[in-house]
Subunit: 166 residues, 3 copies
């Protein structure tokens, strides 16, 4: 039984920027980097995503946001200091860092980050958000913010942002 | 440290209906309102979504369903009275309403809804569903229903439904 | 109060393969079957999805993966034997199989699978993944794998895979 994880290999790496057009339909993907400072940290990406979408001449469409990491999640919620504390505490309550996870046991795992908790917390939040664009802007409610959850930082995290539409 | 939440502001509000076309590609977004009656309630949106998609001449495509609220979630499951009770009980077990959440404490939060539980329960379910369209209809399994979870009602909830495709 | 679940009925069943084109924009949906061997099992679909996407002449786009079942989930994580054990144990801890769920009680439910746990565990993981395509290939991080969670097997499970783009 292997202690290692399967590696995902493309034939060619993802380009930092890539785009295609057909008729009036546009699609563009781009790499974003987010530097985090804490082991567990919630980062508000909303302004960055909204500004990015406004750069394109897309009235109606989608914007897909993808975390390139297993231990870095993306989700929607309100951005308030008190609530962010509650979210972090909730994740810590749901998944104990010091439980006897196999992934943290050198007899079973060659991962030296001891981060089973980070993997399991990311399961609960998910790794991507697919938002709508309407009237040239991202569709979000008044209190909705696009949040990144760093679950095993600090690290430089890579996201992929893809806009598509007419 | 601010007690307030960040507000999301577009340059112009989302129009109730907006559409664009390029060649044979169509995209249309529309606002739906759902009135809920209970604090926690599960509403079956499937027929409404299926009927909506049939109005368009889109054979193959996607339909994105987005909740405009942080405390109102969207997800897929079976619609059976017994199971809906189990889902509500499960959400209540996972996130205690009366735990000492910072978001419910006036020393740390200017939110007077005392709804930290609603925010945390929504985290587990998610705020959007992106479904496929094939053969002019939504792709769903025999027992799959598109459900809205009201987590802090009763309220009038706004959803955004976007269809796109050829 | 009905013991039965609402059935989802399309006007016509989903075709095994369906596609449409407009200008340089392509969209194609196809049915995949995955046979599982255990009641709870995690299956790595990554290579199958990556190979499928390479068959199309789509440089930039999306690939939507949809489980046609309520008790079979799709999510992203690392594929390592130790971590897969942790994920299964975590799901079992979060949702007890033998708790007194209404869905398992013949007085309230006509479901004879006694699988409330499967429904609730699927809630936590979700039923679909919407991935980006860039440079003709799926966008995934080095350790990210597309995983199917069988939560009430063994069974033959049907997925729908839709690629779209330019």
């Amino acid at each position: 039984m292997s202690k290692s994880s399967t590696v995902t290999v493309r034939e060619t790496p993802v380009a930092n920027v890539a785009s295609a057009r057909a008729g009036g339909f546009t699609i563009q993907g781009e790499t974003f980097v987010v530097q985090t400072d804490q082991r567990i940290e919630l980062v508000d990406l909303t302004s960055r995503i909204m500004d990015h979408v406004r750069r394109f001449d897309i009235r109606e469409g989608l914007v897909s946001l993808w975390s390139m990491h297993t231990t870095c999640a993306l989700f929607i919620n309100e951005f308030q200091t008190a609530l962010l504390s509650d979210i972090k505490r909730f994740l810590e309550q749901m998944v104990g860092r010091d439980a006897e996870w196999m992934h943290n046991n050198p007899e079973h795992s060659d991962c030296d980050r001891m981060n089973a908790d980070s993997h399991l917390r990311a399961l609960l939040l998910g790794h991507s958000v697919t938002l709508q664009i309407s009237g040239g802007e991202v569709v979000l409610g008044q209190w909705q913010r696009v949040l990144l959850a760093e679950l095993d930082g600090p690290r430089a995290r890579t996201l992929r942002v893809q806009v598509m539409g007419v």
